[in-house]
Symmetry: C2
Subunit: 524 residues, 2 copies
């Protein structure tokens, strides 16, 4: 143990080692946080990030998405991923930063439903490619048929978290507008569960207005999922934050940055659903003049304002920031993918958590043909229309499904587990801010509001399923009773004929009618 | 759908919205990633981050840790956390950055086992405090009894990810050296499972050389966990990366930054376990002269070097970078915490994943007194001596425990679940780089090497448990057989007496000896 005299030098020595960590370095070392923890998943993650961006860009520009995904195998564990879209393209000056800098993007600072939201998806894929193969990523983009297409080779300077432009050139390209991303990464290609094949199919299911063509590696037959809806859904709008969602610290920050001159205007302009009247009401409750300058408020004033906001009744946030899939669309997608006896879907009304609107949609298909006996239901999760293939166990949507008492709906269910039935369950969360459990965006954090809404939606379709199953049970029961009655009807007919001397045929017909009548009424 | 002519303006409009996202903004919005997803967990997370730092600082300075944790309730859902240590203190100039900037620290860029590793733990707590209460965090630190103690009030400028010094002063403080952190946050205090109370107790279990005094809120009786070992464990050493752990992209980066002039020196100096001879061997395999300049190597050359490294037999990394708890210490800690019939512990030899040494330790206590019938075993997880209380289901250590076939060791186990027995299982992973599933550091990512090692360790203690349980079964069986025999011995004795005319007492003693002899040999 050092004596007290020498202790100061220890602290000084330790101080010399303190250092800034760039966000690129952080995720390079923690690449599993971005979904690159094993080669199979890495390949899927990189494809997902590129396709997410393509779909977002097309939708924002009002373009029906047409996306091509190509996977080329370069060596045993090395693949080249090429994703091309017909989106609006990216202006030249933005290309390097969007692909070569982590925590950069247009989606983080706004409230509007989109697939990307963090600004680390596609640059994370570029980082992983560079880390495992040493190769730059190649981006081609054109924003206008009258302008050139640009081609960039990009690395990331991980120490600075800034792009390095390895090469920049004008190229010939057959697309009038759009973007193509090409990333070489270490990976492994597998088919089946959680494969890129499954991902592409589920993507088509949740984006029925997109056409996606997919070329698997090694010359395997390509797959073209054509759009089944010829129109884009109503585009979601960007909304302002709702006052109920703001936290005290945010409020203080907003007050210090605002350009407004009076608190009443601050409240009206920075938030959604605050009218002049509401703003005055809030000011009164907080105990200061509506025309007070926001910059003059102290921390204590801000806290008063914060409490006043939460004591005032304010309309729920506008919901046009969301773009659900829709009940009909879910059912037709289910029908296209699964042959079943019963289908149902429900889009709940939007709800709010921490001021963020979100909406839960569920769909079920029961009595799937050739479903293995005793197998658990298949759960398919989506967040903002993106299929979630990993970390099912850690997801709030799973918790909601296993938390429903499926026995109430005549479906077998082991304790705390998915129901055991020939059943497919779809759950979709649409939100301006999806709270993922990690940057890999594969599981939803356990917010009670989300779990509650999902359960309610599942209970609604569950009740419909129970009605269907009960009818089926009754029909089955009647069929059995009838067959028992019919077993004896031959003998009864003979005896009746002996007694009545009537025609055997007529007696049999009479008995048949009787059976039908009784079993329907349930009197036998 | 926009026509091709207008499309360019869309891309230009979209470009204007592109923006850099600061890492503070990112985690403020994604605070659940840091462990602040609900008030109960938030309180625990903030305490954990402060205590982790205190323990790390003390150990690095070679000081036996003496830590005080105080929780003061300020309002229904507002608490003030005060954590004080006797560590080496922090030099004045570093205090603002360590507490007021995310991704800043001394532990990220080195390879050595420590509790913190990311540089976002304690600053994350400061951020959460500021977000939910609007208050600055207060830090007092002194590095030497002959110097002043400094007191800082610190905010984080989230847009810039830089500290804001609200106030800076010299204060009187009774500690000769050490640090005190004071953070006010929104939280909820609960006792029982996953509480701060449990955390503090488990902390004492995994750090038997630390004294921790804990003052719960509301005047509840304080708890003083005194050290049971009076000496610090051998301090872990910082090691260089092992060549097998380096990825191609890292290698290219290292080659471009190195100060060495020849590849052979580059290999020797940047990596552990590479002798001059090994370095020459690698160069030969890669096909270039050992004296080639590292800066002159192309990407293709780097790939050759990378392949040559992986084709060369290199000694495993040095293991003095790890500081395990120890088998004896685990058993004595278990004994102190749980009254049981059987204890066992195992520290495996260190192994390597992605070039990082790690070591698994496990301990079990079986036959816990008053354990509820049919309850699952209690699993206690540690990473670098830090108790992991949340996200058990998502953790690789849990997967290892449920993946062991406990029926082999005579313990009941439902499918894919924890065994059902009066059993406590401790698992500890010690590593220079623990791959957590999120920044909240509560669950280990599913690296196959980690799961495999944990299973092997559990199987070892499992086999010992089986021997104990088998002995217990045999003893039980003998006891039963003996009691059956004894049931008839009275009558047998009488008959024998009649036949032999011997003394009844003598006959009974003879019979008793006989029973003992036979049941021991298992012949009856």
């Amino acid at each position: 143990m050092p004596n007290n005299q020498g202790i100061g030098s220890i602290a000084r020595a330790m101080a010399l080692k303190q250092k800034e960590i760039s966000v690129s370095e952080f995720f390079q070392k923690n690449r599993h946080l971005l979904g690159y923890d094993n080669p199979t998943r890495a390949l899927l993650t990189a494809v997902k990030e590129a396709v997410d961006n393509s779909l977002d860009a097309c939708e924002e520009a009002g373009i029906l998405p047409e996306i091509t995904v190509k996977i080329l195998q370069k060596a045993e564990n090395r693949f080249r991923i090429i994703v091309e879209d017909n989106g609006p393209g990216i202006v030249k000056s933005q290309i390097p930063k969007i692909f070569g800098k982590l925590l950069y993007g247009s989606k983080f600072h706004r409230l509007k439903m989109s697939r990307g939201q963090q600004g680390i998806g596609i640059s994370g894929a570029v980082l992983y490619g560079q880390l495992t193969t040493g190769n730059p990523s190649i981006i081609i983009s054109r924003i206008d048929p009258n302008r050139s297409a640009y081609r960039y080779e990009i690395f990331i300077d991980t120490k600075a978290n800034e792009p390095i432009i390895q090469r920049e050139q004008i190229v010939k390209w057959d697309k009038p507008h759009g973007t193509q991303v090409e990333i070489e990464i270490e990976g492994r290609y597998l088919r089946g569960d959680r494969s890129i094949d499954e991902y592409v199919q589920l993507c088509a299911l949740s984006n029925p207005y997109a056409t996606i063509e997919y070329f698997p590696p090694n010359g395997t037959q390509s797959l073209k999922m054509k759009r089944i809806i010829k129109q884009l859904p109503t585009p979601p709008k960007t909304i302002k934050p709702h006052p109920y969602g703001v936290e005290l610290g945010n409020l203080i920050e907003l007050l210090s940055y605002t350009k407004t001159k009076r608190v009443v205007d601050f409240l009206r302009r920075e938030f959604s659903r605050v009218s002049e009247q509401k703003a005055i009401e809030i000011c009164q409750k907080a105990g200061f003049e509506p025309k007070t300058s926001p910059r003059k408020l102290t921390r204590e004033d801000a806290e008063k304002l914060y409490n006043a906001i939460n004591q005032t009744k304010i309309m729920a946030p506008p919901l046009n920031c969301l773009s659900p899939i829709g009940e009909e669309e879910i059912i037709s997608s289910l029908k296209q993918n699964f042959e079943a006896q019963f289908y149902s879907a429900r889009s709940r009304k939007p709800e709010v958590y921490r001021g963020n609107p979100f909406q839960i949609e569920v769909g079920i298909a029961y009595g799937i043909r050739d479903y293995p006996q005793g197998e658990s239901a298949k759960l398919i999760r989506f967040a903002n229309k993106v299929p979630l293939l990993y970390q099912q166990g850690a997801c709030a949507l799973t918790k909601a499904v296993t938390g429903v008492d499926w026995k109430n709906y005549l479906v077998n269910q082991p304790k705390n587990a998915l129901p055991e039935a020939p059943l497919v369950i779809i759950v979709h969360i649409a939100s301006v801010w999806v709270p993922f459990t990690s940057e890999a965006k594969e599981a939803i954090a356990h917010y009670p509001e989300i779990i509650k809404e999902t359960k309610l939606a599942l209970q609604e379709v569950g009740r419909e399923l129970a009605i269907f199953l009960r009818k089926k049970q009754i029909a089955e029961y009647e069929r059995k009773r009838r067959s028992i009655f019919e077993l004896y009807s031959e003998e009864v007919a003979k005896s009746l004929q002996k007694l009545s001397h009537k025609d055997e045929k007529e007696i049999k017909r009479m008995l048949h009618d009787l059976i039908k009548k009784f079993t329907k009424k349930g009197e036998i």
